[in-house]
Amino acid sequence: MQDQQLIIRLQQQDQSAISTLYDAYSGALYGVVLRIVQTNELAEQVLQDTFLKAWRNGAQYDASKGRLFTWLLNIARNTAIDATRSAHFKNAQKTGNLDQIVTKAGGEVLNPDHLGLREIVSKLDEKYSSLIEMIYFKGYTQEEVAEVTGIPLGTIKTRIRYAINELRTVFGDNRAAILLAAWLIHFI
C-alpha cells in the first residue's frame, strides 16, 4: 500500500512531497543512474533533472498505473539514457575514466537495511541478475539484449519471468497471501 497523503501532495506539486521522495528513493535511483552514465558529475545532474521533472509533472502521476518508484525510475532512466547521448558522456567514454569511478562508487552502502538486501540479491544467479540489470536498470529492450548477448528472445522472456519470481521468493513475497487477498477483494 502506498502513502495516499504523499501521492496527493505530489499531485498538488507540493515541494515537501519531493523531499519525502528524495529521502525514500534517491539512493536506489542514483544507483541506477550512475550505472548508466558512469560519472558522478553526470549522475548528479541527471538526479537533479529527475526530481525537477517529478515535481513539475506530479499532477500526472496515476497511482492506478503503478508504484511511485516505478514512475520515478522511468523518469530517471530516460533522463540518464538521454545524457549518454550527450557530448560530455562520449568524451568520458573516450578517455577511459569510467570503470574506476563505477567500482569506487559501488563501495558505498546506503543504510543497514540494504546490506541485507544486497546479500540476498547476490545469491541470485548471474545469468538472471544481469538480465534484470540490462532491462530494468539500463533500459535495454529484450530484443536489444538478445542481439547483444546472442541469447534467443524466447529464452530471455522465460529467464526474466524466472528471475523476477526468484526475486519475489528471495524478498519473502507471500504468493498465497496475495492470491487470498485478491480473491477476498473480489467478493467485498
Partner: protein
C-alpha cells in the same frame, strides 16, 4: 485467455519492465482492471523490482538534496501558477472599451445567475417540504398497514374468542380476545357515537365486578382499539360517562357482551 496461463506467460513481467508492445500493454491493463489477482501479481512484481533497485542503492553526495530543493524553489518562482494572468497584465486596463463591455456583460450574467440561484434555492426548500410531508404520510400508511395486518391475523386465528356486544336489541360490535396473542381488541365500527357531552368507557367484568379498561378513542388507527389483555373476564361492557376521564363504576351501560 485462461487466467493462470496469462499470469504465467511473462507478459506481466514485460509490462512491469516497460517492455510490452502497445497491444500487449492494452491487454495487460484490461486484464488488470478486470481481475484483482492480476493486479495483485503486477503489484508484487513491481515491488520485487523496486526492492532489487534498493538493494543496489548508492548514496548520492550529501549536499545534492539541498541543491535539488533549491533548484525547485527557484523554478517555482519563475513559474507562476496561473499563466493566463500574465497575458492580461501586459494590456492596458481602465480605458479598454472591450474590457468595459465585457464587465457589463459579466455583471448582467452574474445578476441573472444570482436570480436563478435564488429560484433554485426556493425550489429546493419546497421540494424539501414536500419530501418531509411524503415521509410523514408514508409513515402513517405503514403504521396503518401493519396495524390492519395484525388485526386481520387476530380475527382469523381460530384460537381468538369473539364476543359480541349488544345493546339489548341488536349486536353492535365485536371484541376479539386472544390468550395466545395476548390481545384484547375492540372493533369500533359498530360502536355508536356517545350523546353530546358524553364519553364512552370500556369495561371488563371480572369476579362480578366491573374493571375499567379505559376510555374509548374513536381516533384509533384502523377502526379498532387495543386494550390490555384480561384473562378471566365474564363479560365486557361499554358505558356512557360525563367525565372524559371516566368513572370508577359504569354510569349508563349501553352495550354488554358475555364471554361464556
Amino acid at each position: 485467455m485462461e487466467l493462470q496461463s496469462f499470469i504465467n506467460s511473462g507478459l506481466l513481467e514485460s509490462f512491469a519492465l516497460g517492455q510490452c508492445t502497445d497491444e500487449e500493454r492494452r491487454l495487460v491493463m484490461r486484464m488488470r482492471d478486470e481481475h484483482p489477482v492480476v493486479q495483485a501479481e503486477l503489484a508484487a512484481i513491481e515491488l520485487a523490482l523496486e526492492q532489487y533497485a534498493q538493494a543496489q542503492a548508492i548514496a548520492p553526495p550529501v549536499d545534492l538534496k539541498a541543491r535539488i530543493m533549491d533548484a525547485i524553489q527557484h523554478a517555482e518562482k519563475q513559474e507562476p501558477e496561473a499563466p493566463e494572468l500574465n497575458a492580461n497584465t501586459t494590456k492596458g486596463r481602465a480605458n479598454s472599451p472591450w474590457l468595459l463591455a465585457a464587465s457589463v456583460a459579466l455583471l448582467a450574467l452574474s445578476g441573472y445567475l444570482w436570480m436563478a440561484l435564488q429560484q433554485a434555492k426556493q425550489q429546493t426548500t419546497q421540494l424539501g417540504q414536500q419530501i418531509e410531508q411524503l415521509r410523514v404520510d408514508l409513515q402513517t400508511c405503514s403504521t396503518r398497514a401493519s396495524s390492519d395486518q395484525e388485526f386481520a391475523n387476530l380475527v382469523r386465528d381460530p384460537d381468538t374468542k369473539r364476543i359480541e356486544l349488544n345493546n339489548g336489541k341488536n349486536v353492535l360490535t365485536s371484541i376479539f380476545n386472544s390468550d395466545l396473542r395476548n390481545s384484547l381488541v375492540l372493533d369500533l365500527s359498530g360502536v355508536p357515537a356517545p350523546s353530546a357531552g358524553k364519553y364512552l368507557q370500556f369495561w371488563a367484568i371480572i369476579d362480578g365486578k366491573p374493571v375499567s379498561m379505559g376510555m374509548i378513542d374513536f381516533n384509533s388507527i384502523g377502526g379498532h382499539q387495543t386494550f390490555k389483555y384480561v384473562a378471566n373476564a365474564q363479560a365486557f361492557a361499554i358505558s356512557e360517562e360525563d367525565n372524559p376521564a371516566g368513572n370508577a363504576t359504569p354510569t349508563t351501560v349501553i352495550a354488554l357482551g358475555k364471554t361464556g
